[in-house]
């Protein structure tokens, strides 16, 4: 088997293993989905939403819901491996550490996207915003990849500490600020296009590339002693 084929076979094996474990234990998906819906409902009641401020506020609420829900899933990425001691066994395998990172990242993107697929229609109905268009897909996917890329890396950092539940959001939130700002602004532009608006989606994608490259390069040093 060539190195490239082995690399992708290992990536797929880890994704398959994580998906199967999650589908059987249902520890993350249901919690993430319910949390995202709760945040949307609470924000809907908490803000005094009128037609004139809806476009300014609602996309922010949507992305806060995504970010908070993502934290639940991201935290489990390596905590589960660490708790059952299987991380060492994974590291004992002749697997490129980038394959582990990529598999965990893709798994997280899959988990978060599944939650978003449920949350977006609920958001559109509750906030009465015609947000569901084809252009929403690259915005949501770009924002999700950015959050997941940095979240997956810091999940590995936090998993080795005692205060991992507290540490993960403290590490991730400051880093994803540009992604969240770009995603919120890009979502606003979808709902209410403004001529001459900055290319927010481009900013999100640029940060995706930066975060992905940095995370893939540094992951090995995080998981190995």
């Amino acid at each position: 088997m060539s190195d490239t084929r082995l690399f992708w076979s290992q990536v797929w094996a880890i994704i398959w293993k994580d998906l199967r474990c999650e589908l059987r234990s249902r520890q993350v998906w249901i919690g993430m989905g319910l949390f995202a819906l709760l945040v949307l409902v609470v924000f809907n009641f908490a803000f005094d939403l009128r037609t004139d401020n809806l476009v300014a506020v609602a996309p922010g609420a949507l992305w806060v819901a995504f970010v908070f829900a993502s934290m639940l899933g991201l935290g489990r990425t390596f905590n589960a491996e660490q708790d059952r001691g299987s991380m060492d066994r994974l590291l004992l395998c002749p697997v490129d550490r980038k394959a582990i990172y990529l598999a965990k990242l893709l798994g997280n993107v899959l988990f978060i996207t599944a939650v978003e697929i449920v949350a977006v229609p609920v958001f559109a109905v509750i906030y009465n915003i015609p947000i569901i268009t084809g252009l929403l897909i690259p915005v949501v996917l770009g924002g999700t990849i950015g959050i997941a890329s940095i979240g997956t890396l810091f999940s590995a950092v936090a998993a080795n500490t005692r205060a991992r539940e507290v540490l993960l959001p403290l590490l991730v939130f400051p880093m994803i600020v540009p992604i969240v700002i770009g995603a919120v602004k890009a979502t606003q532009s979808l709902v209410s296009p403004v001529s001459g608006d900055a290319p927010w989606l481009g900013l999100v994608l640029a940060f995706d590339v930066i975060f992905l490259s940095l995370s893939a390069l540094t992951f090995q040093y995080v998981v190995e002693e």
Binding site: M1, D88, P94
Partner: protein
Amino acid sequence: MNAHLVAFPREASVEQHPSLLPAIEVTGLGKTYELRPVLRNISFTLKAGGTAALLGANGAGKTTLLRILATLVKPSAGQGTVMGYDVVRDAAALRRLIGYVGHQPHVYDDLTARENLLFFARMYGLAGAAKRTDALLERVGLRAKSRERVRTLSRGQTQRLAIARGILHEPRLLLLDEPDTGLDEEASTLLDELITERAATGGATLLTTHNIAHGLSRGEDTLVLAGGRLTYNGPSRVLSPGDVRELFVARRRER
């Protein structure tokens, strides 16, 4: 993927085929955690196909030594090679040649026994993974339980699965860290048989155990660690369990 497909180590020459190199060669190895030395100046050799027992009291440094040889921990001093591969420099290549079984099984509870082995077979890029997996499950007595989730298995059955995973890729060196934990007598005998089979085919084994008599009978050679230092390195047949206990405390008396 077979071990013979792995590239030759840097140290190996035409005269030194990997199968002729010592399974383990350790020189002046040391490990310090937060200024506290855990291993000091460890030097020993385990020949290819050899079996050695690593004995020592709790905290003597046995697990740390095994984890260094397994490439999970980097040494603070000295050098270690396995089949000619440096445990730090050549860690990536070395991982194909090492099998590790710890005292905790550390398998995936939500996967079945078979799925666990198939997952690791894919991680090692093994050809004929399904056939090899089924044969191993049969060998460790888990054929009937192969499609049950691990969380429904007993502690001993889960440890049998961990042993199967450790030898799945036919490693040239098997590191066993108190593998008997949770095993019944039948499974313990099975482990003895596996070690003997491996030795017959040139596979080396280094094992730790708290059962001194068991360690002496399993290993043709014995290494005794006390306070992070190697206090004995020689044949097992000249030692009695009482001698080993003396070696455990001798170091404490010196201090």
